[in-house]
Symmetry: C2
Subunit: 326 residues, 2 copies
């Protein structure tokens, strides 16, 4: 079967994998070839096409691009190189400090396999990174600030959930309006993360737990909350499940600078997302299109979003793009 569509494989079926699966329906030039999971395939209740990750090699030639939907802490270090040795890949590796190391690993694996991989695709790293690059190239004399939120931080939510007496918890990271104003007006130099964000926790406590102790444990937690303007709100389970089950996120990336003749210039890119994983999935899908095209040109090795010309992620051809969007 070759209908000319780009055949997509999904590796890992969490929030991101589900988002890719549903997102493909909005991209008629692509189709789902299979979802590869380490869980027992017979137990997957979500209506296939599920295949065992252990047998992924059998699908060589049947999948144009594998979208790796595992996490950056463990999965991608293991699966990334394995899959990139067999298939073209796109992933959302997001541990900023380890990107150079991960890039090298993926470059070696994909070159060895004669494949192309695009790493660290999403919004940060990803679209925000492109904005940082572009705005810095255009306004070399300036300052740039990234604000995250309002949105759910999984890492901080996990940290609160580990506190004794906490049954359910979610942590929202919120950009501070004053700091946003400072950044926009070019007075933001030197603002630290604690000066740019505040933290808001919704907590359901275990029966008999002391609210005061939980609140103190949160606010004094080093690295996560200490030093931040942190608010803790206790709520009941019903309201929690109704109001705080989504995964909204977003943020602001702002660069202010001066042209050589002194004019003040401001560039800003922002996102407001009701679903963080569903948005990241959409970015992964668009870059899978680029991966298929570059691989089709015979290119191999690792790339980041910095190496991908915008036209490659659009379903339109060059003429249509120039006519309609330029």
């Amino acid at each position: 079967m070759d209908d000319g569509k780009i055949k997509i494989g999904i590796v890992g079926y969490g929030n991101l994998g589900r988002g890719v699966r549903s997102g493909l329906a909005q991209n008629p030039d692509m189709e789902l070839a299979g979802i590869f999971t380490r869980r027992p395939v017979a137990q997957m209740a979500d209506g296939g096409p599920f295949f065992s990750y252990a047998e992924i090699e059998k699908y060589k030639g049947l999948v144009d691009v594998m979208i790796l939907c595992g996490g950056s802490a463990g999965d991608l270090w293991e699966q990334g190189a394995q899959v990139a040795g067999m298939f073209n890949t796109v992933d959302s590796f997001d541990t900023h400090a380890k990107i150079p190391e991960y890039f090298e690993m993926m470059d070696t694996a994909s070159q060895r396999g004669g494949n192309l991989s695009i790493i660290s695709v999403g919004w940060d790293p990803g679209l925000f990174s492109i904005f940082r690059l572009t705005s810095g190239a255009v306004l070399p004399a300036g300052e740039e600030h990234t604000f995250w939120g309002p949105g759910v931080s999984q890492g901080h939510s996990d940290a609160v959930r580990k506190i004794k007496g906490v049954k359910l918890a979610v942590q929202y990271t919120l950009p501070l309006e004053d700091a946003l104003d400072d950044a926009r007006s070019g007075r933001g130099a030197g603002l630290s993360a604690t000066e740019r964000h505040r933290r808001l926790c919704y907590v359901v406590e275990q029966p008999g737990a002391e609210r005061g102790e939980i609140e103190r444990a949160i606010k004094t937690m080093p690295n996560y909350f200490l030093g931040y303007d942190t608010e803790v709100v206790f709520t009941d389970e019903q309201e929690f499940l109704r109001e705080h089950s989504g995964m909204p996120h977003g943020g602001f990336c702002i660069r202010t600078g001066r042209s050589a003749e002194g004019a003040g210039q401001r560039m800003e890119f922002s996102l407001e997302l009701e679903s963080n994983p569903q948005f990241t999935s959409c970015v992964l899908i668009a870059y899978a299109r680029a991966a298929a095209r570059l691989a089709g040109q015979g290119q191999t090795g690792a790339r980041s979003v910095f190496d991908i010309a915008p036209a490659l992620i659009s379903p339109m051809d060059g003429f249509e793009l120039r006519r309609r969007l330029l």
Copy 2:
């Protein structure tokens, strides 16, 4: 002399050309090789290096990229193909409806000369276009709106200045806040340009001219003002020159969409520029870097910003970009 710097030529010395000249000082990997003008070189008072446009061919091999700073209505149709036959070029051609035609002309000329040209570089067309492409690829089910301003529209200012009795005039295009809110919340479908913008004119009248007649002439001018919420403010010459001599501009590009599972997602890119031509100059300089690199790979023909990978416009190499900005 070859110090490894990218040698830039400037063709045309208006606001844009002056902005490129000063902007090069912020880009240490580049240097000015010459400014080419059709005006008598001896009369140029701004401290060289000025050369006659008529002799531009003599500079082949001495200039890596010519930045074309002429206007889209006339200059670029004439100079674009001439210069692209001899040099790599970057220009800010901005007549949206004629971009396909201009692209073909530049593609033919630059291929014939074995050169590379990047057309329609700036912010709209340019950075806004990239946002339209990217946001449309990521959120295929959605709507997108571009708002211009607050900023000076040269075309509308010129139209007001042609009215009998007008001595000095400037027209600011202002996005309507309500329409911006509608666009941001996904309720902006079908908003026309007149529903998205209002127009504010500052006018100094000739002695003896009737303010009422000027105001009526402005507000009833078809294509330019008729149908718009237009405000006319009369002022004196001194205040006009003090307050309205700058060329601020900017705008907002907004896309709202829904992922396949229904989550509402919003992307926004905005600019607030104290000097429109100085900002466009900075974008031209960054893309001249890309033109030099692509030409160095032996690539020829016309490109738009859609064809340029972000990394190509940055002075940093791939490793530094991944480490510092991804």
